[in-house]
């Protein structure tokens, strides 16, 4: 936006000393505190312990790390659904998390769920109606799109989720284990959709345990360990260290 950003691409996401905490309550603890007349204290889990990160517009960044290392939490913090315990998190536009799954209704049909999912992402009814057939076609579910979602196989469900979540193309897309779904044909089509997104200067963060997928889609990778960045660099180098750890 300013003159200084003319040569390097502008920043899409900037994290400075970001810390995120979860509050997990133990009810026994709660009662004990109440009896002592203290205000009830809960266990604080430090999920992200100081992350510094700068991601440029148009970059595609993989995020790897063991279970519980804070990968999903970091992405959630970027969408603003989790408050920061400290640090600052700046974005060029509000990132969208591929997390529409939670809004969907098992008893409703695939098509109704497309409508619900798009409404949940903030669209108006008119916009939804204009898009619903296109999204339904992308799922490639055929006549199953008009059957209740609870009758779907897990692969069919995943296709529906992916189609709904990527129907809106936000500038910054955060993906949590969404690509390794569906059959080979669908995986190729979803990868293609992400390529298109990057081609139009979109930024992608991809959390995945599927390292082949990270290698394929990301030139840069971040390795998270216990809420801190262990390594941040070209995908090949980071994954070599990660795999030998």
């Amino acid at each position: 936006m300013t003159g200084s950003t003319s040569s390097p691409p502008p920043t899409a996401i900037r994290c400075v000393g970001v810390e995120v905490q979860y509050t997990v309550r133990s009810h026994r603890l709660l009662l004990r505190d109440l009896l002592r007349g203290n205000s009830p204290k809960a266990t604080i889990v430090n999920a992200i312990r100081g992350v510094d990160l700068e991601i440029q517009v148009g970059e595609s960044v993989g995020v790897v790390g063991p279970n519980g290392s804070g990968k999903t939490t970091l992405l959630q913090a970027m969408t603003g659904v989790l408050p920061l315990a400290s640090g600052q998190l700046m974005v060029r536009s509000l990132p969208t998390f591929l997390g529409v799954k939670a809004a969907l209704r098992p008893r409703s049909t695939g098509r109704s769920n497309i409508r619900i999912g798009l409404l949940a992402q903030g669209l108006r009814w008119g916009e939804v109606e204009a898009m619903v057939n296109e999204v339904a076609a992308f799922t490639d579910l055929g006549s199953a799109i008009d059957r209740p979602m609870e009758t779907y196989s897990s692969g069919m469900r995943a296709r529906l989720h992916f189609a709904i979540a990527t129907a809106l193309t936000p500038d910054i897309l955060l993906i949590d284990e969404a690509l390794a779904v569906g059959d080979r044909a669908f995986r190729e089509r979803s990868a293609h959709r992400l390529d298109e997104h990057r081609a139009s200067a979109g930024t992608v963060l991809l959390v995945s345990h599927n390292l082949a997928e990270v290698r394929r889609s990301c030139e840069r990778t971040i390795w998270l360990q216990e809420g801190r960045i262990m390594a941040d660099g070209p995908t090949e180098e980071v994954l070599r260290d990660y795999e030998s750890s």
Partner: protein, 288 residues
Amino acid sequence: MEKSSEDATRGKERPGDGLFPVGRPEQVGTYLRELWRRRDYLVRVPLEDLRVQNAHTLLGNLWLLLNPVLQVAVYLLVFGVLIELDRGVDDYLAFLTVGVFVFHQTQRTVTAGARSVVSNAGLVRALRFPRAALPVGSAIGQLLSFAPVLVVMLAVTLAHGHAPNLRWISLPAILLALTAFGLGAGLLAARATHTYRDLENLLPFLFRLLFYLSGVLYSVDHFIDDEALRALFALDPLYCLITIWRWALIGTEVSGPVWAGTVIWPIITLVLGFVAFRSREATYGSWT
């Protein structure tokens, strides 16, 4: 905690690089506008939930109507045939039906609101939206499912010889009062339930107590002669709501304090509920 990170973010904000901080709490006006922008979601999704609610039953959504009909049938059997008890009320069945249906509708709205945040934890973590959309959506859902109940209630009062009259014009307003109170109490309960899950276990007992205190089964005016003591009942929002509904449908007399209560309670509860709910907005995602 949220406050300090808020301040830090504002302080270091660099104008001109096109970046803005995430998770900054919105002004009330922005918040309400954002909520209004989601009005299609707030109506369409409860409607869809209602549509598929009885998907696995033989009679389907006929149950929405059958439920209140069967309820009235049970009262007819118990209080009309088994126990000859009118407790000083002429058309006891209509009196009882209005009381019970209005009470249950309020209870359902509050209880659904109380659960709305806790039971949608996944959605709260996944998408960014004004969290008040959850209690508001659940209140709208309860309002929609009240339609068949209202039909049965009107049928019962008509069957008792209460012809349609001018008081029916007030029905939308008193339905609004009921829903506003239910939503306000639901917002308060949702915020409290998020901190103290225990409330979910207490709510049914609180409502059971209010059920007996609010003159659902009996006429308070018939049992209590003292004017001052009667006025005290206006402190019970449920008593006010039930009495107003009875006024509109079967012509029960309404005292001044109860009129005042009907107007004031929904407003106070809604404002308090909204302020209390929003004060914890940022933590709804990070507390488990």
